[in-house]
C-alpha cells in the first residue's frame, strides 16, 4: 500500500458548488487547514470532496493562490508578496467577498488576511454614505438614531483635517 508520504504526486478532487471538479495536488490542497484536517482524519483522497459553498470561479482563484504559495520556497517572501498584490489587483468587490468566504470556510489564513485587507483598504477615507454604496448596505437608522451615533462618533473625527 502506498502511503501518502511516499507518493508526493497524490492528487485529490474538489467539487465546486456548481458541479465543476478540480484535480489538485495534495501539497497544494494542504494550504487549506480544512482539507488538511479532512485528509488527516479518515477521509480518503480518492473521494471527491464537495465544497458546496464555493463556486467554480472562486475555487479556481483559491487554488491558484494555494499553488503559488505551496510551490514557493519560504525564502521567496518578496516574490510571494508581489504575487499577492498582483493576484488581487483588478478583482471586483463581489469576487473579493467570495474569496473571503471561501478562505474563511477552507481555513486559508494568508488568503483570508490579504482579501480582508484589500476590502478594508477600499473604504479608507470614504464617508459612510459611500461605504453603503460600495457594500450595498441599506441604511436602517432613523434620522434621530443616525444623529445620535454621529454625536457619539465625533471623537473619531477630531484632530483630523
Amino acid at each position: 500500500m502506498a502511503s501518502s508520504i511516499e507518493n508526493n504526486n497524490e492528487k485529490l478532487t474538489l467539487k465546486s458548488s456548481d458541479g465543476e471538479e478540480f484535480l489538485v495536488e495534495k501539497h497544494v490542497a494542504l494550504q487549506s487547514t480544512l482539507l488538511q484536517n479532512m485528509l488527516d482524519s479518515d477521509c480518503s483522497s480518492a473521494d471527491v470532496i464537495p465544497l458546496p459553498k464555493i463556486d467554480a470561479r472562486t475555487l479556481a482563484l483559491v487554488l491558484g493562490y494555494c499553488k503559488k504559495h505551496a510551490d514557493a520556497s519560504s525564502s521567496k517572501q518578496g516574490e510571494l508578496n508581489s504575487f499577492d498584490s498582483e493576484f488581487l489587483k483588478d478583482m471586483d468587490m463581489g469576487a473579493l467577498f467570495n474569496l473571503v468566504l471561501a478562505a474563511n470556510f477552507m481555513e486559508i489564513k494568508g488568503l483570508l488576511d490579504i482579501a480582508a485587507q484589500k476590502i478594508a483598504d477600499t473604504i479608507k477615507d470614504k464617508p459612510h454614505q459611500e461605504v453603503r454604496e460600495i457594500f450595498h448596505v441599506e441604511n436602517d437608522y432613523t434620522p434621530e438614531e443616525e444623529a445620535a451615533v454621529r454625536e457619539e462618533n465625533r471623537w473619531a473625527f477630531e484632530g483630523f483635517p
Binding site: 478594508a120 448596505v137 471623537w155
Partner: protein, 164 residues
C-alpha cells in the same frame, strides 16, 4: 460589478475586515459605524486598539464601555495628572481583554497613583498574565501587571510594574 447585497455575509467575516481598518485613524471606524445598525454592532466588537489623546480623554469612560474587546490602549498625552486619572478610569472599566497600555511620549515620572489603581483591579490584574508580558512592546516604557506587583523605577526612562 454585479449589484449584490452583502447581507448574507457573516458577522465574523465582516469583523475580520473591520479589524483591518487603520488603527491609527479612527475615522474609518467612525464611517463604518454610521453605515447601519449591524455595522455599528460589529465594529464595536472589532475595535481592539484605542488611541487616547487630549481630545478623547474626557470620553474615555464611554469609549471603554462601548469597545469591550479593547486589547491595547495607546496614550498620547503629556499631562501627568491626566494620566493618573486616565489609568484610574481604565482600572474602573470593564476592559477585560486589556493586554497592553502604550505611551507615545516620555513622562518625567511614573504615574504611581494610576498604576496603584490598576493593580487594585482584579480583572485587569488577572488578565495581564505573565506569559503575555514578553510579547508586549512599548515605545518608551512599559507597564506590566501581574498577580503580585512591584513598582520599579528605571532611571533610563523605563519603568515597569513587574511580577515578584
Amino acid at each position: 460589478m454585479k449589484k449584490q447585497a452583502h447581507g448574507h455575509f457573516p458577522d465574523d467575516c465582516w469583523e475580520l475586515i473591520f479589524q483591518k481598518l487603520r488603527e491609527d485613524d479612527e475615522r474609518d471606524l467612525g464611517s463604518i459605524s454610521l453605515v447601519s445598525k449591524r455595522f455599528l454592532s460589529i465594529s464595536n466588537q472589532a475595535k481592539l486598539r484605542l488611541n487616547v489623546n487630549d481630545g478623547t480623554l474626557p470620553l474615555l469612560p464611554n469609549l471603554l464601555r462601548r469597545f469591550l474587546h479593547i486589547g491595547t490602549i495607546v496614550i498620547d498625552t503629556n499631562a501627568h495628572k491626566d494620566i493618573d486619572r486616565l489609568l484610574d478610569q481604565i482600572s474602573r472599566s470593564g476592559a477585560l481583554n486589556l493586554q497592553a497600555i502604550k505611551f507615545r511620549s516620555r513622562l518625567a515620572e511614573p504615574p504611581r497613583d494610576g498604576f496603584k489603581a490598576l493593580a487594585l483591579n482584579e480583572n485587569i490584574k488577572n488578565n495581564l498574565k505573565f506569559e503575555t508580558v514578553l510579547s508586549l512592546s512599548f515605545l518608551s516604557f512599559g507597564l506590566f501587571v501581574c498577580k503580585k506587583l512591584a513598582l520599579i523605577w528605571d532611571p533610563f526612562s523605563a519603568f515597569h510594574l513587574v511580577c515578584n
